[in-house]
Symmetry: C3
Subunit: 675 residues, 3 copies
């Protein structure tokens, strides 16, 4: 369903709930004035509005919404219109308890909170179809409604009888025969053999919790069933004639769903970004947030939308810290740098009561615009207006890091060498950060994605091999690619069945070694990698490693580093294998960031990856967007607390936004422009 999406401008705005203020008609007018003052050109409406849209079953009240949208449009503010399905009216659960979720212990929820509905329930689907149809009929041709925001922050799962039945159907369709099912999940272990598909049940703390093949397929089912529900929501809109593009708003580091599978379900990706700025050093937070932006961009490899962010402090974190002056702008422009065509907030106006009443907002309970936060928002508005021509440009990348949610599910659930933590996310971050410190754009792709067009690919902890991935790797290296694989890779197939005959499965020739054993280290324990004399990568210093140390037996691989301690002192800790026209490197243990920084720099150089800024100082991010006409926008952002010196290539890329005198100030952004 993916289509070209471009709203013609960078959007500035966010979630707005006028239904909470219907008793205060003066508020909407006041807000319009404030919006203008802050250069707001978009708001997101309708989220959680079902009780206002359908106050009784079958009784619809959409007029108030139309009036608001009309009035906004008159003021040049467009709307992303949300379907209201993330929360439901009380009458619905009172009459149809089946719409409520059942947890893994098989207990049905009561009405309450949000995101508390069964995705399978025919009743819920029908009620959804009806309300979405009503919305579509009313707004399909409204010029102010530019997109459909489907529900809100999809997530969670339901274990009700209807979902069990759907899961059984899903399993039957996937495996066809009991024999295939039993083999895939290795049910012979502990006599778990299925004698009938009717015996299939979702995992449960009261039943099966460690049949890993079942766990994995259940998570796949949850993603598929959620996607099916999203499709159902969109179909209702399309059937009623609404053609505006659709999105769902995704979440930070969320593993409840495999977002990559939504690439074909929605028209554009959007996400909600709530970093805890000022908790750790801002440079650390910026790197973390940057990776999430890049994941979101990589799902469809095109611009995404920052759907929510906080103009000030949140209220749901353990400590809600005020954003210090300038942070909002730096964070907002970071999103744009990484490929967002919007800066949107939750929320435009603070609600008076209930669980988000203290969440930061453009307009707070005080209700006047002479606040620090409002002024900071208005400054972002000004900055975005200056950057308008960036809208719609891409972030081309020559480096990729494999980030695969299904692999993550498997490796974190595996019952393997380190149940106290395998640090999958951190292992992905290490090569990502190493590349980013060079100012290189990086894609984060899963195993289903193509490796074509990349010069260097890092594959951290690819424990689970998805069909066809090793073939892609083989071809990539054979054809000259520079490839980096880590320990604990190539271990199991898609249902967590261990490969027999040696690992990394199907890559032992490419890597030039076989993995023999893997050692778990307790927290605080460490080993180290000592460079081999005259190693071809010219590594000269030792690095520490921890958590997991793999012992490998090289066949054709050269040894770059060896362990410095324990009974595997002297055994390989890092290798490289020449394969075809390319090279395959291996990192055998969980090394510190420094090793990745040195190695990835050398690999990028070997691969000939372009670097726009030759030396990127610590704490500075360099990110490049490229317009269809070839124009490049180079965002240089300093997330450190000090002004730093940086040599920018202003001959080729003159300064376009910001000021440059050989330095860049703390939390400042400079944008260069050129070709």
């Amino acid at each position: 369903m993916e289509k070209e999406v471009n709203f013609g401008k960078l959007l500035h705005g966010g979630d707005y709930n006028p239904e909470q203020w219907l008793d205060y008609p003066e508020i909407l007018e006041q807000d319009l004035a404030y919006f203008k003052k802050a250069r707001i050109n978009e708001v997101s409406l309708g989220m959680f509005s079902w009780a206002f849209l359908e106050p009784e079953e079958g009784v619809f009240r959409l007029e108030w919404l139309k009036e608001v949208i009309d009035r906004l449009y008159e003021n040049e503010i467009v709307v992303m219109l949300s379907t209201p399905t993330a929360a439901r009216p009380r009458w619905m659960t009172e009459k149809y308890p089946e719409v409520l979720r059942v947890n893994a212990a098989r207990e049905r929820n009561l009405y309450g909170e949000r995101h508390n509905h069964c995705y399978t329930s025919p009743v819920y689907r029908e009620k959804t179809r009806i309300i979405n149809t009503k919305l579509a009929e009313m707004f399909k041709d409204h010029p102010g409604v530019i997109a459909w925001h489907i529900s809100n922050e999809y997530g969670g799962e339901c274990h009700c009888p209807l979902c069990q039945e759907a899961f059984r159907g899903w399993v039957k369709k996937k495996y066809g025969t009991l024999e295939r099912l039993n083999r895939a999940w290795n049910t012979g272990f502990w006599s778990h053999t299925y004698q009938s598909f009717d015996q299939v049940e979702s995992p449960s703390p009261k039943g099966d919790s460690s049949l890993h093949g079942l766990n994995l397929d259940w998570k796949r089912f949850v993603t598929d069933q959620t996607a099916d529900f999203v499709k159902w929501e969109i179909k209702a809109l399309r059937d009623a004639g609404a053609e505006q593009p659709s999105t769902i708003n995704m979440m930070y580091n969320f593993t409840g769903l495999n977002y990559y599978k939504f690439a074909d379900v929605i028209d554009f990706v959007s996400w909600d970004n709530y970093p805890t700025w000022h908790k750790e050093a801002e440079t650390v937070t910026a790197m973390d947030t940057g990776m999430q932006h890049d994941i979101m961009r990589s799902i469809q490899k095109k611009p995404f939308y920052l759907m929510e962010s906080c103009p000030s402090a949140t209220n749901w974190q353990s400590v809600s810290k005020l954003k210090k002056p300038g942070m909002l702008q730096a964070a907002s422009l970071q999103a744009v740098a990484h490929g967002s065509d919007s800066v949107l907030y939750f929320q435009m106006r603070q609600s008076r009561g209930a669980s988000e009443k203290f969440h930061g907002a453009v307009i707070d309970h005080y209700g006047v615009s002479d606040t620090r936060v409002f002024r900071e928002v208005a400054k972002v508005g000004v900055a975005l207006e200056k950057l308008q021509e960036v809208n719609g440009s891409q972030n081309p990348a020559e480096a990729a890091v494999i980030y695969d949610v299904e692999n993550r599910w498997a490796v974190e659930d595996a019952a393997g060498p380190r149940n106290a933590g395998v640090f999958y996310k951190e292992t992905v971050e290490k090569p990502y950060q190493a590349f980013r410190k060079l100012g290189i754009n990086v894609d984060l792709i899963d195993e289903t994605r193509s490796l074509d067009g990349y010069r260097v690919v890092a594959a951290p902890m690819v424990y689970l091999l998805r069909e066809g991935w090793t073939e892609k790797v083989r071809n990539f290296v054979k054809n000259g690619g520079i490839f980096l694989l880590t320990y604990w890779s190539g271990i199991v197939d898609e249902t967590d069945l261990c490969y027999l005959g040696g690992t990394p499965h199907d890559l032992m020739d490419v890597m030039g070694f076989r993995s023999m054993e893997i050692d778990g280290l307790y927290d605080g324990e460490w080993n180290e990698g000592i460079p081999e004399p005259e190693n071809p990568l010219h590594l000269e210093r030792a690095y520490r490693c921890s958590h997991l140390c793999e012992l490998v037996q090289p066949s054709t691989a050269e040894v770059l580093m060896t362990y410095g301690k324990d009974f595997y002192d002297g055994m390989p800790a890092m290798t490289r294998n020449v394969y075809g026209k390319g090279k395959a490197y291996a990192v055998c243990a969980d090394f510190e960031q420094g090793l990745y920084d040195e190695v990835c720099r050398k690999l990028a150089e070997e691969a000939g990856v372009e670097r726009i800024v030759e030396e990127v100082p610590e704490g500075v991010e360099v990110t490049m967007r490229k317009q269809k006409d070839g124009t490049r926008y180079v965002f240089v952002q300093n997330f450190s607390r000090e002004t730093v010196e940086v040599k920018l290539p202003i001959e080729r890329y003159p300064v376009w936004q910001g000021t440059y005198d050989g330095t860049i100030g703390s939390w400042k952004t400079i944008v260069l422009k050129g070709r």
Copy 2:
């Protein structure tokens, strides 16, 4: 129902369970001898005795109890007689499961433990009425029964269908219309609008848990329903002709009920005091315990009763430490100093089995009186006999600190700037302790209480404003009162709806500023307050603050201190505003104790609060009781581990009890007496 309560003497005794020893007739006689030896003049009987009083449904056995009471009375020991409702016979739950509680997840308990009954159940109420009637009929005229001890340590809640129905009725009565209900709880948020009162349900981890208005009203309902049950219990006694005064025994820092609402339900307040002496410095524990005593006294502003305390070590704390020699006496007399007309223990004789078998007792399993603990108890008996004329005297206070349980419920549940802890109790303690270190009596009153008669009032973190409170504050200051307000005050109304238009609501003129933002600080982070040059309070040193820093915009207020760090460096951290004849001070951040010590001393001086002992050394408590005839008893207690020098005003108040040579020994008490 409050009446004048005075038993004519300070009581010494405690909980006694002869029903556990009915097979050992020699035990009662032995105990009587021991009681005499230890100057015991009261015991509390009947708690948890239902299975002995009504061994089968409708079959009553009260004779054994009468015999015990007769025998005690012959020995000049009076009785507080407990209704047995805190635990019930097994036959009752077997026949009527409805009397058992249902938890918030809607699961009904099994028979077990105590405090496990539904306060709404008509069956439980009827069974209670019958047994209370039987007790009243038997003991209404018994001269040995001086008071009714209603049940035991009320607390907990029930979510059964009967309670849901009662809650719905409560809500309907409070709000009348759905419109008012929906507005009060701001149900528009997340489409939580009620379409019918039938949809109202108590909060639940499976349903609504963060609709704060609902949460607050549920807690109010639990208090009201509990109070209603207490009234029901008392009514049964009164209807049967029993006129002895009634009490319930309250608990330390308990927030399950709003005890202040029981002021009119019972005739006198009593409570159970189990400090962990010797865990922290005794001076710290004494301050903490003292505040609880003062809360209990402030509920009815008259003498209370120490209903339970441990003569030695408890058995239910994580570590049960022996009370060191002398501690029992110091702790017991502290209760009397703060307004208790009794020193009672749990328990007179240790039970042989079950969960409190190792709880300290006057007579332990050994069963002989030649124990250290028995000797310590007997010494307390002697001391109380000497203090008899203190009985019935008041603790007049010129200083008050606002402590409000409904506000506490709200601010701790708010989902606000610091979910990792707002430290409400600690914030109340700071001005309390500052005043107490001056030897000033302090009342702890909630927002419903009058401010009349106080010279200085501290109002820490008054987040939720109860109806009429700001008006009382305004008049207090206008008429010359000295008032201290802290950050995070005046934020919401009684159903947690945020005030619009600026905060502290309705006090911006009195305080002379508007609060703009509030910053959450992580654990370990801090800022500081730097005194303004030549500030009117003559503050000269800086103090640290943490957790929460509020940023305010002064209108008429003078700035006394400013922040020393972060982006709000230089903004006000403490202010004062002259308003009418009084002054309103504000502390804008969570400052260390030292600031309160200095500020409260200066405010007390400014307010002209009387201080009996001019310089109170650290660790020494000075507390004053005043008899109707004007006689004052000044208790001076040294809770430090060292003998300290102290200058006592023995000209006006000669030494009455204890010895004074210019010093006071560790854990010693001196009582002065004068007018």
Copy 3:
């Protein structure tokens, strides 16, 4: 049912699941070759095989198993055959949900995991009877089947209605009358009196959780009901004519069952040993493991079998560390030294999927024998062949430490002076380790066992007195025994009823003192014991104590040490009493290991306990087995990381295995042999 068990050789092998490889016929043949290579002479079969043995209800498939056993036997590999009851086929739970467990909250499990069945269910018992009968009929005369391994790692409990009914019957049988029941559990407390046996229910977080008598009896019932089920399993085998000896595999430090009560139920004890080698110092782990071996041996006071151990890393611990070279052999021979007649592994071949797929195995997924782990296993095989004549020998002991599971249940549940931890296990370890450091064999016996034949007995924290134990102690001391008792002993009877009249109950004369009070110390707090001048044990240095300090009043006892701090400064901290021909020592507080090391050495000397090696260096274990003909095998094992000097008595006991040059290498074993 206990019988003489001797399989004629030390067994080497372990768990094997060929049913998971039935599709790979080449695997079995390959495995046979590997087994030969590694000197494997036994495998354990059939565990968790029910779905393969009875794929549909009433349809049996045992042929595959027979074929495997035949083929193994042809290759001189014998089999311990497991009943399959630890996991069940799905068809069974689908048709008979009653076979699944119900937890303490009264919720029935779903099908899943293992060990998830009701021991009471008539259906489960009948299905068990049938399958066990089938197995017995097929294999009762098979010369390759040497023993029956009943189910797997029994444990857990069921609270279903059938179990409640059985528990009620158990209680009724034990107590006969309600009066006796009510007295035993002291139900008068909190009105818990039973009016009918029908009111008896198992403990529950939703009902009674702190009626300690009930808790204790419930645990006893769980042991008895489990034992009853084991008997039922064995009866089915015997009824079908199978006479091979039976065992169950026990677990490390498991308190869910009282293993000592199985001494008469099974023919031999076996257990599964999974120490976390290399987590702490190996010397610490060896001491801990050694004690578990000695517990297992002490249950029947005869050789036991190491049923499971890991040839490499496990996969279910938080960190799964590789066994370093040599560790497997040291650990394996430690088992033999302590009385095991086997070294068996889990598992022979790694399964491909599900929750133990990464558990270490003799043959891993790679599937070839050229691995480090395989070579280590083969080395153990060689060592065991050399040690064959040790098979069947005993471990005679002159020292005993009381370790009593029922006492442990009680003292850890008691709600006493230190709910934050009484450290029962650690208190048992202290004298155990002190004796073991002298190279003395130690038995760990419960209170039901005889004290005859021991010279010295340590009784740590014997809180609960089992019937007859004090009489045994009295006689032991009277007749010249050296006895050591600690604090918190002799407090309650078998249903946790406190003894009246002074403690340690019935031993005050033997010990020569009465205990008066016990003080709980917070973590980090300490006191110390100061030796009395010229004390008869010649103690000269002070030792620290923590957690619990008991205050005792000596009658006839001499004081050896006194406390050095707190209000009990100068009171006895250690005493000794001469009683009859023996001496009774008391340790009054939780002293550090050093005190036990010094005291136990002196007590062993006083008692005349034989010590084979005069000075045992730190980290070295000396353990002695003795064959019927009087031959002694002295195992000397060095668990430290350094080679150490040790003087061995090679004149009397020449070196039999290993090499000795005045030193012993790290993780090396030397075996001496002599008479």
